[in-house]
Assembly symmetry: C4
Homo-oligomer: 201 residues x 4
């Protein structure tokens, strides 16, 4: 797929997440792998409104997070996208800010366990509801470049996780391509609301 097609699809995914309330305002950032060798990502630029996201607001970056073309600054969380793409062989990485992921990541728990729901089968490789998904929670920071090793060790320590939360911040999830990553957002957001309502929020 060409960069232009990828950028157009990323913009559609972003607008759909905004419509659901998962990327209000300028929140959230979205990327997809444009090439593996050399590594090139299409990624949303910083500070753009997701409700009006267009392909022109997607830039190309290299494996060090440097912009290779397009206008605008790549998202400040570019190091997270690169770490995920490398550790999981992901084709797309989606980061959303929803009410329920924010509520579930309050407090000091190390993660959220979700088990025995049929909906878990929407996660790649999960074949039965008798599955326990553990979504670790990472502490929030404003220096994701420095936090790179922390993200890499979390991804290495939790090889089965389909996503992770950042405390009072939101969800990172991914997939082999953009459709799989968007499906993971839908599945996980559904499960967050179920778990959140069970907790009585």
């Amino acid at each position: 797929m060409s960069f232009a097609e990828l950028a157009s699809q990323l913009a559609q995914v972003g607008r759909r997440c905004h419509a659901r309330g998962w990327a209000l305002g300028t929140s959230g950032n979205f990327s997809a792998v444009a090439s593996r060798d050399p590594l090139r990502l299409a990624i949303t630029t910083c500070g753009v409104d997701k409700g009006a996201l267009t392909a022109a607001q997607i830039v190309e970056i290299d494996g060090d997070g440097r912009a290779m073309g397009g206008a605008g600054t790549p998202s400040a969380e570019v190091s997270l996208h690169l770490a995920i793409v490398r550790a999981r062989q992901a084709g797309a990485v989606l980061h959303t800010h929803s009410i329920w992921s924010t509520l579930l990541s309050e407090g000091s728990a190390a993660g959220v366990a979700i088990e025995d729901y049929e909906m878990l089968k929407g996660l790649e490789g999960v074949r039965t509801h008798a599955h326990r998904e553990w979504l670790p929670i990472l502490e929030n920071t404003q220096d994701w470049r420095a936090a790179g090793p922390r993200v890499e060790s979390l991804l290495a320590a939790e090889p089965a996780a389909h996503g992770f939360l950042i405390r009072r911040h939101g969800l990172y999830t991914w997939g082999r391509d953009l459709a799989a990553a968007e499906r993971h957002v839908e599945i996980l957001e559904f499960l967050f609301e179920v778990v959140g309502r069970k907790r009585g929020s």
Copy 2:
């Protein structure tokens, strides 16, 4: 109605359920009877995103669940659709995964009772709010072929039920045609949210 028209209508129903949050990701499956003798069903294929469901993702199956045409594998829950079509003379069967049906089917209750709501009159044959609808809850499994007899005896034991829940999984409902089945989804999902909020979820 031709198979092509039926497939197109099923795709629209699926996208509407997705828009309401009742079939996020690849969850849910939908069928309609294309012919009675011999029995032929139009049914969604496995693993397709309901938000982008198209008529091309609907296949024709026979009374043994074998694909008769179209691309893709029929839903793994095809035996449930066939059992319902036979037991209830249904023209369409809809299976959704919603937040509230998931929450109501938690725990170990044998079913959910809903009574004295005007909205119950949206269910086929119900003429008054002074009605008690009992939706049995079936334990979840990944082997619906083996669970066939369990489903058949549940349908026989509860001849008045307009639907049933599967534990932490979702709703099955049906109707004489696709419009009636979709109306049953809307009515039951409404009532699940009312009952769920009364329980304090």
Copy 3:
């Protein structure tokens, strides 16, 4: 306005109520005065899906509730519409079934009091938030023709009410024209959710 225009506008109002979840399935019914002398109402027919409501599903009735033209049976609750049009000089009457109006009309309270909200100013004639709106609750029945006197005395006893609830059933509200009645639905549904959430539902 011609009957055809009125029917088209009623169909749009119905579809908007369905989109908000206030008239799921076949629930709800909607009318507007086509002429005062002799009295003629445009009103939704019985058992039609509000999500696909069209002008062809609206019939004309006279002051006794008899169909004057169009196909389909007028709503079973036609006597309520006629009583309201007469008692309140209303130009339109809207009846919705929402989650929050259903929850607020549970139990045995004689009505719901809503006061001191700015949003109350959206109700006709209310000039300040320092207003107490009392929405009486009528017991549900399946014989609205026989219940006519009960409805008339309620409307006479509560001359300031902008609407009323039916127990575990829904809301009736009205206005001098269709736009005013639709505004009342939006204002009251908003307030029901506020009051319902305060009660902890």
Copy 4:
């Protein structure tokens, strides 16, 4: 930008707020600065339905709140818009009525504190989640002209606030332009729901 373009954009913002449920019925009012010297605002007229808001329902006012053109009466809360434009050098002021802002402004608290959420970075000038946003709550009134000094001293006393609430009424927020103000609405409404759900509403 011409007045006509500004009016068209304000109408779109209003319809989007209505779609989210933040400006149901005739609630809410919206303005943008058309010129600074002399001061001219484009502002919604009183009593118009936000779901069908059009550019023709936007009027131009001067720095004293007098209509300079267009049909309809400027919003009764025009003095609030002018006070904010002057105190904050805002290019646009948006006032919404949402469920969660209404619930959070119940009781007698002097304001709402929101801290440590990543989403706070959507507010102008906020660079880290380690931020405490204090939204003061103003008592409601029907005489905003007389309340002018009260609004001015609140804005002077809370120079860092990105918005304020009016008791049981709604939110005022603003931005350097209409896009920034709309982003502030989305960010703050998101945070109100998070805080409201944490409180158990």
